[in-house]
Amino acid sequence: MDVPIYSLVLYLVAAVLFIIGLMRLSSPATARTGNIMAATGMLIAVVITLLLSEVLNYTMILVGIAIGGIIGGVAARAVRMTAMPQMVGIYNGLGGGASLLIAAAEFFRYYNLDGGFDVQNAATIMVTVLIGAVTFSGSMIAFGKLQGFVESKPITYPFQNIFNLVIFLAILAAIIYLIVAPESIPLFIGLIVVALVLGVLLVIPIGAADMPVVISLLNSYSGLAAAAAGFVLGNMFLIISGALVGASGFILTRIMCRAMNRSLTNVIFGAFGAAAASSAVGGDEGERVVRETSGEEVATLLGYSKRVIIVPGYGLAVAQAQHQVAELADMLEARGVDVKYAIHPVAGRMPGHMNVLLAEANIPYDKLYDLDEINNEFERADVAVIVGANDVVNPVARNVQDSPIYGMPILNADKAQSVIVIKRSLSPGFAGIDNPLFYMDKTMMFFRDAKQAFLEIIDEVKHM
């Protein structure tokens, strides 16, 4: 398309605003203005696009923007912070779907054009269709798994990976054929349908515990889909923006894989959860004893400590106990206790999720520490309070070589002087293995729902 120079310059300004906006995400203090800068960049890009000479159909565009804007605005206000993974999951899908539709629209435009396709048009369109369709349907399944609409356990069947490989090869063959001879509508529609099916098949064998990885990966794909649509239209702005998102999702995928001690191939092709649960370590559990404790004992221990580190896991969010944790922390701080939070990268259901849930409960972000920042401080802590977390504090990861979580980075909660574990029962975590931390002499188990536990502790601290 023919774009005037001033538009190209303004698209560059918009792209720069995106990058500066992302740079400002390096600190919570500057992040909010960064987000507003990125939004301003998008607004500039939308306005200059409306002014392009080939954009004439204002009614349809503005009606579309109005409908999408209302849906997006209402959803952004209504969504609960615990449901952020689902929201990001849907948005990944919409990004992929939009790119798919752009590629399809360009296909039909070239089809009706006298000149027809050249190889470059056809190739970029087909690749965009593949990435967009897989992102769309894969994200919808990921959303369904997180929301409980789709079975969250891995869905497996014999020869699954081989079957997927055959489908992928069929898609590649169709793409190559369509690049050489694009003028076949049935084959093009067939390509879209099979690519959508592939997205579904790739995500159904992945268990709920691995969803943080899948959501991150699909986040990356949605960016790549936008960049691919940029190749179709020859639009540099789309390519730059899409590449930024692609890089972001890629980095998060890697961080999540490392935090879960898994390789990406293992997550995608391994059908974890099903296999690991069946190989759970049994053995001498019956002979070991745990020390049970009460709200009163925990309150006394915490109230007379100097340094307390709280280790929240997703169980905390399930019990909706964030506000009670914050209340107890305030009371302890009023007594001169230093309270910090140790956040494992996989503590929530998506990257960074637990931080948002705690921020929502008015816990200041300068008390939230990630694994590398806080791991050396456990030795000096009087008490580590573990709430609804299990695998991320399992010392087995450090020294038992045949354990499925061996090598996984863990929080050194077992190094604290005393350890309090708030948990409903002794049941194992996602990895399906026993946790020796629960049986240590310095560990006290408080078998309660997290919210109930904190209410009892708060009540006792009040009377101290």
């Binding site: 992302l22 919570p28 939004a39 039909f108 470059q120 239209l233 639009n235 540099m236 590449a243 948002v356």
Partner: protein, 93 residues
């Protein structure tokens, strides 16, 4: 492959590196807002969707484009707004 496509590939690859450098510096505490912000930015396909919806006459391409406009706008508006909502919750002691 003609030169235009190679030129676009240059831009893509360099932007990936720029993105990698910038996003590596985002701390884990902000990874959720980063993802929802990335959703908003990937809503940039709105620009492409507007271009394909652009022609005056209504045909299949324009209808597909309009659906794409709706989907991408949900991403843009919803993504930026929910990111702002989250970032507003982060406060210092």
């Amino acid at each position: 492959m003609n030169q235009d496509l190679v030129f676009l590939l240059y831009i893509f690859v360099l932007a990936m590196f720029a993105g990698y450098e910038v996003i590596t510096k985002v701390p884990p505490i902000l990874h959720t807002p980063l993802m929802s912000g990335a959703n908003a930015i990937s809503g940039v396909s709105l620009i492409g969707a507007m271009v394909v919806t652009g022609p005056q006459q209504t045909d299949l391409s324009v209808i597909l484009g309009m659906i794409a406009v709706i989907m991408a706008t949900v991403n843009v508006v919803g993504g930026f707004m929910v990111t702002d909502r989250m970032l507003a919750m982060f406060r210092k002691d």
